[in-house]
């Protein structure tokens, strides 16, 4: 294991495991709420935060967390106020985030667009020891938070109106999820990059649900997938000398394609007539192979 002899690779691999756990945990709730693109929006806004850090001489990780949280809360409030104009408002936030980032980095001393590139697509060598501590603390906080509020978040993301009628504090819970998403975006920024972080939230979940029937198994499978593609992607990035975000996401998409194929094969291997047996058995073939479409 020669790659483990490099300190920066050790840090990158630990960060990859943390990101691989945190991103799908947040992602499963975002996908359940049909807000799969929220991570993208937050990532764009976080870029402005990174550039602001360079401009003000503060650690970009700190300013990125703040900008991402502000962006996430804004997205959530826009969404909660109603459907009309919500997607346009989101689009404006996307563009504003990127433009603001490029503008501010241009204004900061010695800053160039190349500085932003490692934040956009991830970079192995960039995870410092200090970064790793912050990443571990933030990822741990996200995981504990979501474990504690998991049942409530499931109810809110499954049926927001019902959750409100059962007395849950829906506004607080959705803001909590938005904040967790913002923190996760920042945590994943160094490994996957701001433009690709959302893929690590969404693709493992989309992959898992090709073959699962329950929320719990979808969550567990997407955590396993998230860690596996993150670690494998970091190794590939080292060997091939490419941006880690790109290798992680390409791997994740490859596994997704395999899962779609597996589901297709499972569904078509068994004759449809088998479903006609009216024995009412719990594990019917239909249950095993039927679609997940809503």
């Amino acid at each position: 294991m020669s790659i483990l002899s490099y300190d920066f690779m050790q840090r990158a691999l630990i960060a990859a495991v943390l990101v691989g756990l945190a991103a799908p945990t947040v992602g499963v709730f975002l996908v359940q709420r049909r807000l799969a693109l929220m991570g993208d929006g937050i990532g764009h806004v976080a870029l402005t935060g990174v550039a602001l850090g360079f401009l003000l001489g503060i650690a970009p990780l700190i300013t990125a967390v703040l900008a991402a949280a502000a962006g996430a809360v804004t997205i959530e409030l826009i969404r909660a106020r109603g459907r009309t104009g919500g997607d346009v408002a989101l689009a404006l936030l996307f563009y504003g985030g990127i433009a603001g980032g490029v503008l501010l980095i241009g204004l900061s001393p010695g800053g160039t667009n190349a500085t932003l590139l490692s934040y956009l697509f991830g970079s192995l060598t960039s995870v410092s020891g200090g970064d790793l501590v912050v990443i571990a603390l933030l990822a741990g906080a996200v995981l504990v938070l979501l474990a504690g509020f998991g049942r409530e978040l499931f109810a809110v993301c499954h049926d927001e109106e019902y959750a409100r009628a059962s007395g849950l504090r829906v506004r607080v819970l959705t803001l909590l999820l938005a904040a967790a998403a913002a923190v996760t975006v920042t945590v994943a920024m160094r490994v996957v990059g701001l433009l690709l972080v959302s893929a690590l939230m969404v693709v493992p979940v989309a992959t898992a649900q090709q073959l699962t029937r329950s929320f719990r198994s979808t969550l567990v499978a997407s955590l396993a997938l998230g860690v596996a593609v993150s670690v494998a992607g970091v190794v590939v990035a080292f060997q091939a000398d490419v941006a880690s975000g790109a290798s992680i996401v390409v791997l994740a998409l490859g596994v997704f394609a395999l899962a779609v194929l597996a589901r297709f094969v499972l569904r078509h291997r068994r004759p449809r007539d088998a479903f006609a047996a009216e024995d009412g058995s719990p594990a019917s073939f239909e249950a095993l192979t039927a679609g997940d479409e809503p």
């Binding site: 049926d159 009628a165 997940d292």
Partner: protein, 263 residues
């Protein structure tokens, strides 16, 4: 609590949505163990009224008491089981029948603790009472429309509510399943659950209903015994088929509810 205590007491209720007055001075009182139906044409304000009762719409006028407590200070939401009008019980991620039903038990569960034996029993009983025990581990997205609606009813029952509020539980449900649903509701009513339900027409629920309140254009126009079933829907062979039903997976009539006779 005395038997005659009011569970819902709405006086002069007004609701304004998007600048339109949907409810105009509605009085509605539902007493313990009563089964009350809200009738009326589309747009008469039935759904808005039940949504106001469960706290989804704010009253712009009038007063609402729930279990004798002003709605603004009411916190015992686990006493109310709400069944919204939905086409599907599925969301963006697969979830089993059991997982969805268990989300109706949240207010009785503790954070960071696994579900207690009482929680698991209540969820299993709720699933059993709507006749879906053999599908508890299946994804709700695989169920037919009628079965998904029963999942939502089970979700409301899982919290063992004292008041059940159902918004159009019969919409899109054919006659056989309407009768099965009447069986469930009858069992609940017998065990003392108070029921408020919205319906277009009562059909097989008619014998269960103590009182029918008819709305028209946001006002109560009639209170009294439920009106007799008339018109096309009264014919015994009337088949209320709905496009999103998937009849080939439906099982026969549900067994008598295990909720019946429970203390």
């Amino acid at each position: 609590m005395p038997v005659s205590a009011s569970v819902i007491d709405l006086e002069c209720g007004e609701v304004v949505l998007d600048g339109r007055r949907i409810l105009r001075g509605v009085d509605l009182r539902v007493d313990t163990s009563e089964t009350v139906a809200l009738l009326g044409p589309n747009g008469s304000g039935k759904s808005t009224l039940v949504r106001a009762v469960v706290g989804l719409h704010k009253l712009s006028g009038g007063s609402l008491m729930l279990f004798g407590v002003p709605a603004g200070r009411f916190r015992d939401w686990q006493r109310i089981g709400y069944v919204p009008q939905r086409v599907t019980a599925a969301s963006g991620v697969p979830a089993t029948v059991r997982e969805v039903v268990a989300s109706g038990r949240l207010s009785r569960m503790r954070r960071f603790r696994p579900a207690s034996h009482a929680d698991k029993t209540a969820v299993a009983r709720a699933i059993d009472s709507v006749g879906l025990a053999h599908r508890a581990r299946d994804s709700v997205a695989e169920l037919s429309g009628g079965q998904q609606q029963r999942v939502l009813i089970a979700r409301a029952l899982a919290g063992e509510p004292d008041l059940l509020v159902l918004d159009e539980p019969l919409a899109g449900v054919d006659l056989a399943r309407q009768e099965a649903f009447a069986g469930i509701l009858g069992g609940l009513a017998e065990s003392g659950t108070t029921v408020l339900l919205v319906a277009h027409e009562l059909g097989p629920l008619e014998p269960l209903v103590d009182r029918a309140v008819t709305l028209r254009a946001g006002r109560v126009v009639a209170i009294g015994a439920p009106p007799p079933v008339t018109g096309e829907h009264a014919r015994p062979d009337h088949d209320h088929v709905h496009p999103h039903e998937d009849p080939h997976r439906e099982e026969p009539i549900i067994a008598p509810s295990p909720w019946a006779g429970s203390p």
